[in-house]
Amino acid sequence: MSKEQARIPYEAKDLSVLRLAPVAVEDRPKAALELLGEMLKYKRSLRLYLDVCTHCGACAEQCHSYLGTKDPYNMPVARVELVRRVYKKFFAPGRSVFRAWEGAKDLDQETIDQWYKYFHQCNQCRRCAVFCPKGIDTAEVTIAMRELLAHLGLVTKFHAGIVKNMEKTGNNMGTPLPAIKDGLEFLEEELKEETGLDIPIPMDVERAEVLFNPSSSDLFTNTDGLMAVAKIFYKAGVSWTLSSRIAETANFGLFFHEPTMREHSRRLVQAGKELGVKRIVAGECGHGWRTWRMFTDTINGPLPFPVVHLFEEVLEYLRTGRIQFDKSKNPEVVTYHDPCNYARGGDLIEQPRELLRACVENFVEMTPTKQYSFCCGGGSGILMDEAMDLRVALGQPKAECVRATGAEILCAPCAICKAQLPVVMDHHKVDVRVKGLSDLMGLALIL
């Protein structure tokens, strides 16, 4: 793939929403060094990863980004080396000759360009961490470096736009509240038509048992998923509500800007507290789930309620017999794509499988699967239309895995995967429909 194709278009002009002032081009190297020095003081992961790699290369063939683009800088070790060589020059301990032997190199404008390029070709999928004998999680380095780039004023238009939407409307799509409410009414009518029942999709109900936090795309594009969730809560007899403050579980701050990530988390926790719910249930979104599961307690803890995943919640209903599925409603061959941030990132491996086996007739595993699964290629918000060539290249290894299963339906319960995989499958001519797990559960649910 050519260099031009791989480039992600610079760069959001307006960073006011991130409260960052762009740094003049000629000042970037100096500013970058200061920022890197700061990060090394508070991120043990970064420091260790720059220190302990032996350049063994075990990670190279495990990264779909390298496999899909064949660009040597996309080997996890080479990606990190772009930072390591600067670290060796300016921060590493030891005599300068020793550090020169390890490839120490000055920080120039070209290096910053390479950082921008290659840290936007890493999906933060963490697959390399599973295969690296030192447990080096390149996603951590990517997260740190995107944060550093953001402080230099280098953020993609797409990411900055999402953060702006979130701040204004409480969802990434930027849909204003009246439109959301209209949409929900429409869905309630659809539900009535389909089932003959009055199944509500409530909003801002105080003292409800559950605050459900969907991906905003579920409100408009993946509406089957949201309707399915409404049906399940209805059948289980659980009072639930959406919040008008925040209808978004996808937390793009995780990818490149920690303050945004914290703010998003704070907003959700506050919504839950104000409504006085018993727990928050996160909808289908991979990295959103990782943030809730792993970071919320650290940022905003201790929480007055747990944050659980929709699948854990529904599995509880299923195991206690409050809902039942009729498998015959899903007769197709279904395979399951593990969103990276469910399996490796968020401890959701068996739960979705138990649900799938209960609601579809023909479930086949993919190879590799579970914590070894490849990323869809859209992770970490590499979802921009401008980067279509890159997206299909990053998705290529996944496409081959799906093709080999011969499945008719690809269950991919994550908003990013759902946006990315149809594009990838189409491009690589894999004949498969992409669906969320909620959709399949909704079809099979016995009302």
Binding site: Y42, P93, G94, E102, F131, M294, P306
Partner: protein, 241 residues
């Protein structure tokens, strides 16, 4: 000259080696970890996590998940390295008579000692040659290698090569080596054995130890820190497995 070389230098090496290693571990330990970075599936308990680390250290499980050839070379090299290090310690302390503790006669013990030492040394050399060839032969490996990666391999090849040379062609009396090392440890220095191969071997080891704390060899300690970040247990908010 020999005072400096035989008596002063070893102490400097030891101080640089231990001090440097401890310093770097302290630096790591003092940098905070803002978030939990567990990669799943992970153990639920601290005991489980420690067991996980131990399995990783003994079996190189992560490498096993990938290309088996790299696993084999790396594992052979490191296991043999561990055996050889233990062998040096025991063999030199007991002058090859360690197996008399298990009921062997002194002659049998010496023969066993030589046998084990030769096999472990050969395994070490095979593993190392494999890793070296692997690094040199593939363009991708050369792309990610820098001078330090080759340097470490060359140093180790020199150390192990000279060790095997002494074993096969130029036997150095254990006694003289032990007296020398014991002298160093008890601060009553004795002259080093006057044997070219031994001096070469010993000097290369000193160079490696001097370089160790500044090099990627620190992975020997750092690996436990970095693996802990992704292995450490993290309790679920709701218990539903």
């Amino acid at each position: 000259m020999s005072v400096l070389f035989g008596w002063v230098l070893p102490y400097i090496v030891l101080i640089v080696f231990l001090g440097g290693m401890i310093h770097r571990m302290l630096v790591w330990a003092h940098v905070p970890v803002p978030f939990k970075l567990t990669v799943f599936p992970s153990p639920d308990t601290t005991g489980g996590a420690v067991l996980d680390l131990a399995k990783e250290a003994v079996g190189f499980r992560s490498l096993w998940r990938g290309k088996k050839s790299l696993w084999f070379g790396a594992w052979l090299f490191h296991i043999a390295l561990a055996l050889v290090l233990i062998g040096h310690f025991v063999g030199i302390t007991f002058l090859g008579h360690q197996f008399t503790l298990f009921g062997a006669t002194p002659e049998q013990s010496e023969r066993l000692s030589i046998l084990f030492g030769t096999y472990a040394g050969a395994a070490l050399l095979i593993g190392l040659v494999f890793l070296t060839i692997r690094r040199l032969a593939s363009p991708t490996m050369r792309f990610i290698s820098n001078f330090a990666d080759y340097l470490v391999l060359v140093l180790l090849l020199g150390i192990i090569g000279s060790g095997m040379y002494m074993r096969f062609f130029n036997e150095v009396p254990y006694g003289a080596v032990r007296d020398y090392l014991a002298g160093l440890f008890t601060f009553r220095p004795v002259l080093p054995p006057d044997n070219q191969a031994f001096l070469f071997h010993f000097t290369l080891v000193e160079l490696l130890l001097l370089y160790f704390p500044s090099s990627k060899l620190m992975h020997a300690c750092g690996l436990f820190f970095s693996r802990w970040l992704i292995t450490r247990p993290y309790e679920r908010q709701v218990i539903l497995k």
